[in-house]
Symmetry: C2
Subunit: 328 residues, 2 copies
């Protein structure tokens, strides 16, 4: 008996979830829901219906977990609480500052409806959060460091594209190796924004645009680039397509802490990800937590949860006995 999954939203993340479900033999994709006209959408899985969002209520008893693949800015604040009334849900809400509010909105609905809603699943928030939390609990006397990259920042790429004269652009966030090394050496550096990451931009200009002006506008853009050492490369549209069409990402979470009667011993805990595809990896984390949502719901649990609230074994399709025998 498979876990019946629905996907709402068929962008990069939705397609990633579709792939992830295929890799988990205890899961089955039942339907993909879209705001577009369903007939305009072709999905990868054969014989799975594409439906309009308006049909979602008809699926109430036919789907165990609805995976919400919308954006954090406007989609998820509405969708997660709306659909937690009907289904167990998982989302990847990633506006860190608004997580407490999102949690309490969703928790109220899920508790009333008797569903399980797992929010902010992915790698940051998600696996990075988990590693920050475990490392903080283990080493209370220490410092946290999170580095992102090397990877494509969609927000920064979009910011460049909005500049007059820019036809297309990709921006990579890159951790500064010297800073990482210092942290790994237990030096507990205080790092400024500029010392932690550099930004590298690949820009395609519109015909006749002024390269010097565009470069200056990028490098001086407040919040996005002004506080960083930024490199700008002007390249052709062909080169951008050929060499920069992937969506890689990753990063590093470190905690540097002391133990001993007088703090005489140092320890470094490091977690890192190197991802060819940011959305597919996020989707893979979400699929594992969809399994957890299903199991928790079967146990009669309800309400909103985050990665902090869920025992690791719920993520696995192995039995507790198998886990103890093979992975402990």
């Amino acid at each position: 008996m498979s876990i019946r999954i629905g996907i709402l939203g068929y962008g990069n993340l939705g397609r990633g979830v579709e792939c992830a479900i295929r890799q988990n033999e205890d899961m089955e994709l039942c339907a993909v829901f879209t705001r577009r006209a369903p007939e305009t959408l072709t999905i990868q899985t054969p014989d799975v219906p594409v439906c309009n969002v308006n049909d979602i209520p008809d699926w109430k008893d036919k789907i165990d977990v609805m995976i919400l693949c919308g954006g954090s800015a406007t989609d998820l604040p509405e969708q997660t609480k709306k659909y937690a009334e009907l289904f167990n849900v998982v989302d990847s809400f990633d506006t860190h500052a608004n997580i407490p509010e999102h949690f309490s909105n969703v928790d109220a609905v899920a508790k009333a409806a008797g569903t399980v809603a797992i929010i902010s699943v992915g790698w940051d928030p998600g696996m990075f959060s988990l590693n920050r939390m475990y490392a903080n609990a283990i080493l209370p006397d220490g410092n946290d460091y999170t580095f992102w990259g090397k990877g494509v920042s969609q927000g920064h790429s979009d910011a460049i594209r909005r500049i007059d004269g820019v036809k297309d652009a990709k921006q990579y966030t890159i951790p500064v190796e010297a800073a990482l090394t210092s942290v790994r050496n237990g030096e507990n550096p205080k790092l400024s924004t500029r010392e932690k990451h550099t930004r590298e931009c690949f820009v395609v200009l519109e015909e006749g645009a002024d390269a010097a002006r565009v470069e200056s506008e990028i490098k001086n853009m407040p919040n996005y680039f002004a506080d960083y050492d930024t490199t700008v490369h002007f390249i052709s549209e062909e080169e951008l397509k050929k060499n920069h069409s992937g969506i890689p990402h990753g990063g590093f979470v470190l905690r540097s802490g002391k133990t001993g009667w007088n703090g005489e011993n140092s320890h470094i805990i490091e977690y890192s990800l190197k991802l060819d595809s940011n959305p597919e990896f996020t989707a893979s984390v979400i699929a594992a937590y969809a399994r957890a949502a299903y199991k928790l719901s079967k146990e009669g649990q309800k309400g909103c949860k985050t990665v902090f609230d869920i025992a690791p074994a719920y993520l696995s399709n192995k039995t507790p006995e198998e886990l103890r025998a093979t992975l402990l």
Copy 2:
């Protein structure tokens, strides 16, 4: 109101737990128990009694969590089930092959007594197991790699010391950098024992011992050294004391996996530890799980648990609200 902790066994691990308790303001050390004559033992914490193991039953209602700091070979198989009758307990049982049996022995006692027993806590088993499990759940299509070191292996050091003519010895297990690099590059290598780790030995000879014979005995010792590239250095007792008296350790857990409709994207999840003191870090993990044992018991839970069964938030002294606001 502090969590009242007892320590049974005052070797390296017990002393490490004592230090860890001092770093956690919600915990309080109530007593240290020893098989030795209590008056022969001086502990670091002022005004805490040292008691004989025979007095343990008198402490039944005065201790919330008893931390068992004995060895896995003979102590813990008896102690954990014995003391789970009286207390919530945490142990660091690390004989991987015997974990299922230990679990079921302890589970029966703890369920009957209404206590929580958390076994096999530390870093391997422990944090490494957790990372293997999370990574397997996220990337079902992939390969696992665990490398240990650079660090002191107590078992291998002991094996050298048993050789005729050896006065003292320290053995370091060292991961092979080329193997690590290949895994990180997503090459999914099949690695032999020899390709994963090397062994480096620092040996102090007895007066007049035959160095060539000792070196040959070490390098050809079955299971311990014969399958590895082993280097032997003969040094003076002073040099051993000066440069090799620490107990550093650490290692790397990696999972290399594929996602995408046709497995076209690769991902590397890596967790690593670099520890100045193996027992103090293990003790720090144990302290966090002692908090979890206390909280779970307060909730009315009972029975044997491992790191797989415990939601991360139980390890922290922050509230769920604080965790969501600061670490998610």
